[in-house]
C-alpha cells in the first residue's frame, strides 16, 4: 500500500492540466481477464478503510428480445436478492448487515449493476457472498411470484409521475423493432404477467449471469493483487456460457411521430427526440453531440438566455444524449409555462438546431465548453462509489474502462465544423418523435 501511495502522489500533486494526450482519469486502472472470461478491474486510491465492489452485468432491457417478457432484466435484479442454498435470503441479509455496507443494485437499458460500498477490511466476505449468489442463485417459485409484487409496487410508485408516463410513451412511439421500444421497467401488461414466468427466469439467469457478461470492479483502499486473488478464489470456478442475444436493428424512421398525454394539472412539457448514434470512443459524433449540448442548450447558451432568463416563457430547456450500445434518442426537453407557447418554443429549438448545422462555433466558446466538460469530470471523482459508478458506465458501453480516457481525448480533436456535420446527420424531422404533456386533447405542436 505504501508503495502504491508513492506512485499516486505525483498524480495528485500534478492535478489536472488537461494537456492533449494526457489521460483524464487520474488513477491507474488495473485490468485482467480470468480464463473463464470474467473481467477484473481494480482502481486503488486513497480512501482509508473504504472500498467499493461493483459487479457489472452487461445485460439490461436491451437484451429482452422476446415477446411478453419485457422488464425481465430488472425483475431478475430483484431475484438476485432472494438467496442461495448456502446463504438463503435471511442469512444473506444477516451477512450483508454485518458488513455494514451500503449495498444495492440497478438495471438500465444495457446493464444490471450490483454495488456495495463498505469496510475494506471485509472485502473477502463481500466477495464470498457475491461469488455465491452469482453462481448458485436458488429461489422457490413462491419467492419468485412474491417478488413480482415488489416490481409492480416499483412501477406503481414511478408511474405517479407524468414524466415517467411520457418517457414510456416516447420510447414506444419512436421505436418499432429495437428493444429500446420498452423501458427498463417493461410494459405494464408484462409486469402483471411476471408471476407466470418462473421457467423463463431460470433461462434468463442461465443466459446472462455468466462470466463473459460480467466485470468485477473494485475501487478504494485495496490492491490489485488482493482483488485478483479474491476473484480467482470466489469466481474462478464459474463456467462460461454461450448465449448471445440477437438484438433487432431499428429500421430508419420516415417522418415525425407524435405522442401526447392530456393532463392540465402539471406544467406543460415539450420533448423532442431524435435518433442519435451509438456510443463510440473513436468516432467524433458522440463528443460533438456533447459539445452541441454545451454550446447551444446549456445555461450559458443563447437559447437558454432567451427562453428562460429574458422571456421567461420556459422554466428549463436542456438536451440529453444518453449514449448507449445502439442508437438511442437524443432528447431536447422544455418545461413551458403556458401551453399556448409550446409551438413557439418548439420553433425556437428547431431554429437553434438549424444554427448548429450551419454556424461555425467561435473557438473560445468551444474551448470553454471543453474546459467545462473536463473540469466537471475532475470535480466528480472523490469517493470509491463515485469512481466505480463512473467507470461502470464505460464498462457497460464497451467492456473496457479505459474507454473513458479515449473518449475524453476525442474532445481535443473536435473542430467547429465537426459540430455542423454531426448536427446535420442527426437533427432531421424525419427521425423526430415529439412528446407533449398539456391540457389539450391532442398534441399542441406541429
Amino acid at each position: 500500500m505504501k508503495k502504491l501511495l508513492m506512485i499516486l502522489l505525483p498524480l495528485l500533486i500534478c492535478g489536472f492540466t488537461f494537456m492533449n494526450g494526457e489521460k483524464i482519469f487520474p488513477y491507474k486502472i488495473h485490468q485482467q481477464k480470468l480464463p473463464n472470461g470474467l473481467n477484473i478491474v481494480t482502481v486503488p486510491f486513497e480512501s482509508p478503510g473504504i472500498a467499493a465492489l461493483y459487479i457489472v452485468v452487461r445485460a439490461g432491457s436491451r437484451n429482452e428480445t422476446e415477446e411478453g417478457v419485457t422488464g425481465f432484466a430488472h425483475f431478475f435484479e430483484h431475484m438476485m436478492f432472494r438467496g442461495t442454498d448456502r446463504y438463503p435470503k435471511e442469512k444473506y441479509d444477516e451477512v450483508l448487515k454485518s458488513i455494514g455496507a451500503s449495498a444495492n443494485a440497478f438495471t438500465s437499458l444495457e446493464q444490471t449493476v450490483y454495488h456495495m460500498v463498505g469496510n475494506s477490511a471485509k472485502l473477502e466476505l463481500m466477495f464470498e457472498i457475491e461469488g455465491d449468489r452469482f453462481q448458485n442463485l436458488h429461489y422457490s417459485e413462491h419467492d419468485f411470484k412474491t417478488e413480482a409484487g415488489a416490481v409492480k409496487g416499483e412501477y406503481t410508485k414511478n408511474i405517479s409521475n407524468p414524466s415517467a408516463q411520457l418517457y414510456e410513451n416516447i420510447r414506444n412511439t419512436a421505436y418499432d423493432k429495437h428493444t429500446y421500444k420498452h423501458t427498463t421497467m417493461g410494459f405494464f401488461k408484462d409486469i402483471v404477467d411476471m408471476p407466470n414466468q418462473y421457467n423463463y427466469s431460470l433461462k434468463f439467469f442461465d443466459r446472462f449471469y455468466k462470466p463473459e457478461y460480467c466485470t468485477i470492479l473494485v475501487t478504494g483502499d485495496i490492491t490489485p493483487e488482493q482483488v485478483l486473488k479474491l476473484s480467482e478464489k470466489y469466481f474462478g470456478g464459474w463456467k462460461r456460457g454461450d448465449y448471445s442475444a440477437d438484438i433487432p436493428v431499428e429500421p430508419p424512421q420516415n417522418g415525425t411521430r407524435y405522442t401526447h398525454i392530456k393532463n392540465g394539472d402539471v406544467p406543460p412539457v415539450l420533448s423532442l427526440n431524435f435518433k442519435g448514434p451509438a456510443y463510440s470512443d473513436t468516432d467524433p459524433d458522440s463528443p460533438a453531440l456533447d459539445l452541441i449540448d454545451n454550446v447551444f442548450f446549456s445555461q450559458v447558451s443563447e437559447l437558454y438566455n432567451k427562453l428562460v432568463v429574458n422571456e421567461r416563457k420556459v422554466r428549463y430547456v436542456n438536451m440529453g444524449t444518453p449514449f448507449s450500445r445502439d442508437p438511442n434518442l437524443i432528447t431536447i426537453s422544455a418545461s413551458v409555462k403556458k401551453k399556448e407557447d409550446m409551438q413557439y418554443v418548439k420553433d425556437e429549438i428547431m431554429k437553434t438546431l438549424e444554427k448548429a448545422k450551419t454556424a461555425i462555433v467561435d473557438a473560445k466558446k468551444l474551448s470553454d465548453a471543453i474546459s467545462n466538460i473536463r473540469y466537471s469530470f475532475a470535480m466528480r471523482n472523490d469517493t470509491p462509489g463515485g469512481i466505480a459508478g463512473m467507470l461502470a458506465y464505460y464498462i457497460v458501453l464497451t467492456g473496457d474502462p479505459e474507454s473513458v480516457n479515449r473518449y475524453y481525448e476525442l474532445y481535443g480533436k473536435i473542430k467547429p465544423e465537426d459540430l455542423c456535420n454531426t448536427a446535420k446527420k442527426y437533427f432531421n424531422e424525419s427521425s423526430l418523435t415529439i412528446g407533449t404533456i398539456s391540457a389539450d386533447d391532442e398534441c399542441p405542436v406541429k
Partner: protein
C-alpha cells in the same frame, strides 16, 4: 458593531484541510430557515436564497456570472430547511481565486434584479401549486404529514412555502429578509479541501462584511398534542396509496439517547435496506410494495438518497414510517379475476402491520442477537455518511448545530457503550402507537372506502393474488389474521381534495 464570536452561532468556522484534494468546498450555513418566514409570506427564506444564488452581483448579471463560471465547471448550490439555509460553493483548486471573486459578489452585493426575482418566484409558485402534487405521491404524502403534524407552529409549512404565501412576496420583502436573516451574526463558515490560510482569512474577513444585525430566530412552537390516531386522506388521480405516519418526538442528535433510538430504528426500518423488519414483512414476505422504512429525524429526499445527506439539522423532531405506494382496490380488481370483488386496497392492512411491529418492539424489546447485529452494522455504516469532502464538512457543521464536535465519531463512541437495555428503555420512553398522525395520498376511487374502514376499525384482511396466496406459510397467514384485526386508536379521518393542500 456586535462583538465577534460572542454568540454560539456567530461566524464560527469549521475546517477540513485536505492538501491532496483537487477541489475546495465552501459552505455558508445561516441559522434561519423557513421558521423565519413571516406569516402570510411562507416561502420567503427559500425565495430569498434562490434570488441570491440564481441572480447576479452588482457588477455582473446572472448570465454574465454563469458565463464566467462556465469554463471552470465551478458551481454553487443552496439548500433551505426549517432552521438553516446553506449556500455551498465547489471549485477545482486551479480556479479558486477567480471563483472566489464571484462568491464574494454573490454574498455581499447580490443584484436582486427584478427579472431574476420574477423567474425564481414563478418556479417556486409552480412547485407548490403543481409539481409537489403531481410528480411523486410519496414525497407529497411526506410533505403533507409535516403540514399535519406541525399545525399551529412555524414548522408547519413546506420550506417552499404555501400557494398564497408565495404570491404575496415582493422583491422588497426578499431584500429586507436577506439583510435581516443573512448576517455575520448567525453564520457558520465551513471550508474543506485544498486551500491556504490566506484564502481562509480572506473569506473570514469578507464575510464579516455581511450585515451586523442581531438575529432572532422565531420559536418553532410546540406541536399540538395528538388525541388518538388522526388520518388525512388526500384524494387525487393515483395508481396506489402512498402513506406517511408519525408523531413528534422530543429528542435530537444532541441527546446521547439518540444512539439507542438509532439502533431501534435501524432494526425496524433502516432506510432503503432489505433487512429492516418493516421491509421484510411488507415487501419481502407479502409482496405489497417497493419498500417500507422508519425514521427518527428528517431524511431529505429519501427517494433519491441512499445515505442521509447533511445540512438539515433541526431542533423539533418526529418519528415517522414511510410506506411506499401499495395497491388500491381498483387496480387489484382490474389485474386479478380472483380479486374482482375486493372493495379496498392494501393501505389499511399495511398501516396496521407497521404499527403492530412498533408496538411489539415497545412491548417485547429488541433481542440480544438483533441488538448486536444492528449495532455492528451501524458502527460501520455511519462512516459511509462522510465519504466526500463535502459530506464530511457538512456533518461537522451539523455537529455544531447540535452542540457536538464530530457527530459521526461521537455516535460511534456512544454505540460502542450501548446495551440492549438502553435500546429497550429509549423505545419505551419515546415511541408509542396510540397518538399519531397519518397522511395517505390515494386515488379518488379508494378514498371513501379507506376512510370508512379506518374510521370504523373494520377488519382489513389482506387480499393476495392467487400467485402469492398459494405458497404462503401458515405463520404468515396466522399473522395476517392478527394484523387484519389489530385495533388502532383512530379518532379522526378526513378526506381532502388535492387542490386544497398547501394553500
Amino acid at each position: 458593531m456586535a462583538a465577534f464570536f460572542t454568540n454560539a452561532f456567530s461566524q464560527e468556522i469549521v475546517e477540513l484541510k485536505m492538501p491532496k484534494s483537487d477541489k475546495v468546498v465552501v459552505k455558508l450555513m445561516f441559522r434561519n430557515g423557513s421558521v423565519c418566514d413571516p406569516a402570510g409570506k411562507e416561502g420567503l427564506t427559500r425565495l430569498t436564497v434562490s434570488a441570491v444564488t440564481s441572480g447576479g452581483t452588482k457588477d455582473m448579471s446572472y448570465a454574465q456570472v454563469q458565463e464566467k463560471l462556465y469554463p471552470m465547471a465551478a458551481y454553487y448550490s443552496s439548500s433551505v430547511d426549517k432552521e438553516v439555509s446553506i449556500i455551498s460553493f465547489e471549485v477545482h483548486k486551479d480556479f479558486l481565486p477567480q471563483f472566489y471573486e464571484i462568491i464574494k459578489g454573490i454574498m455581499l452585493t447580490p443584484s436582486f434584479a427584478q427579472q431574476d426575482f420574477d423567474r425564481v418566484k414563478s418556479n417556486q409558485q409552480n412547485y407548490v401549486d403543481q409539481v409537489i402534487r403531481s410528480s411523486s405521491d410519496e414525497e407529497y404524502s411526506k410533505m403533507a404529514l409535516e403540514d399535519f403534524l406541525f399545525r399551529g407552529t412555524a414548522y408547519r409549512h413546506m420550506v417552499m412555502g404555501t400557494s398564497e404565501g408565495i404570491k404575496a412576496i415582493t422583491l422588497e420583502d426578499v431584500k429586507e429578509h436577506y439583510k435581516k436573516y443573512f448576517t455575520k451574526n448567525n453564520l457558520i463558515i465551513g471550508i474543506a479541501g485544498n486551500y491556504t490560510d490566506d484564502f481562509k482569512n480572506t473569506l473570514l474577513s469578507d464575510m464579516k462584511m455581511l450585515p451586523d444585525v442581531n438575529v432572532t430566530v422565531p420559536e418553532n412552537g410546540v406541536p399540538e398534542k395528538i388525541d388518538g390516531i388522526n388520518v388525512e386522506i388526500i384524494s387525487k388521480d393515483a395508481f396506489g396509496s402512498a402513506v406517511f405516519m408519525g408523531f413528534p418526538m422530543n429528542i435530537t442528535r444532541s441527546n446521547d439517547e439518540f444512539a439507542a433510538l438509532m439502533v431501534a430504528n435501524s432494526y425496524l426500518g433502516e432506510h432503503r435496506k432489505s433487512y429492516g423488519v418493516l421491509y421484510d414483512k411488507i415487501r419481502t414476505t407479502r409482496s405489497m410494495n417497493y419498500g417500507d422504512y422508519s425514521y427518527i429525524e428528517w431524511y431529505d429526499n429519501g427517494a433519491a438518497n441512499m445515505l442521509p445527506p447533511p445540512g438539515v439539522p433541526r431542533t423539533s423532531n418526529y418519528f415517522s414510517i414511510w410506506i411506499r405506494p401499495v395497491q388500491i382496490g381498483k387496480q387489484l380488481r382490474q389485474q386479478y379475476t380472483e380479486l374482482s370483488d375486493v372493495k379496498l386496497g392494501h393501505a389499511h392492512f399495511a398501516i396496521r402491520l407497521a404499527l403492530r411491529e412498533v408496538d411489539k418492539l415497545i412491548k417485547d424489546g429488541i433481542s440480544q442477537k438483533d441488538f448486536d447485529a444492528t449495532r455492528e452494522f451501524l458502527r460501520s455504516y455511519i462512516k459511509l455518511y462522510v465519504q466526500s469532502p463535502s459530506s464530511r464538512l457538512g456533518y461537522l457543521m451539523d455537529s455544531k448545530f447540535y452542540g457536538r464536535t464530530d457527530y459521526i465519531n461521537e455516535m460511534d463512541g456512544l454505540l460502542a457503550k450501548l446495551t440492549k437495555e438502553d435500546v429497550d428503555r429509549a423505545v419505551r420512553k419515546y415511541w408509542q402507537i396510540e397518538n399519531l398522525k397519518i397522511t395517505i395520498v390515494t386515488d379518488k376511487s379508494e378514498a371513501e372506502e379507506l376512510a370508512a374502514s379506518l374510521r370504523n376499525n373494520t377488519p382489513s384482511p389482506m387480499s393476495y393474488s392467487n400467485f402469492v396466496k398459494s405458497g404462503l406459510p401458515k405463520e404468515v397467514t396466522d399473522e395476517d389474521e392478527e394484523v387484519a384485526n389489530f385495533r388502532l386508536n383512530v379518532k379522526n379521518v378526513s378526506i381532502i381534495k388535492s387542490e386544497d393542500t398547501f394553500k
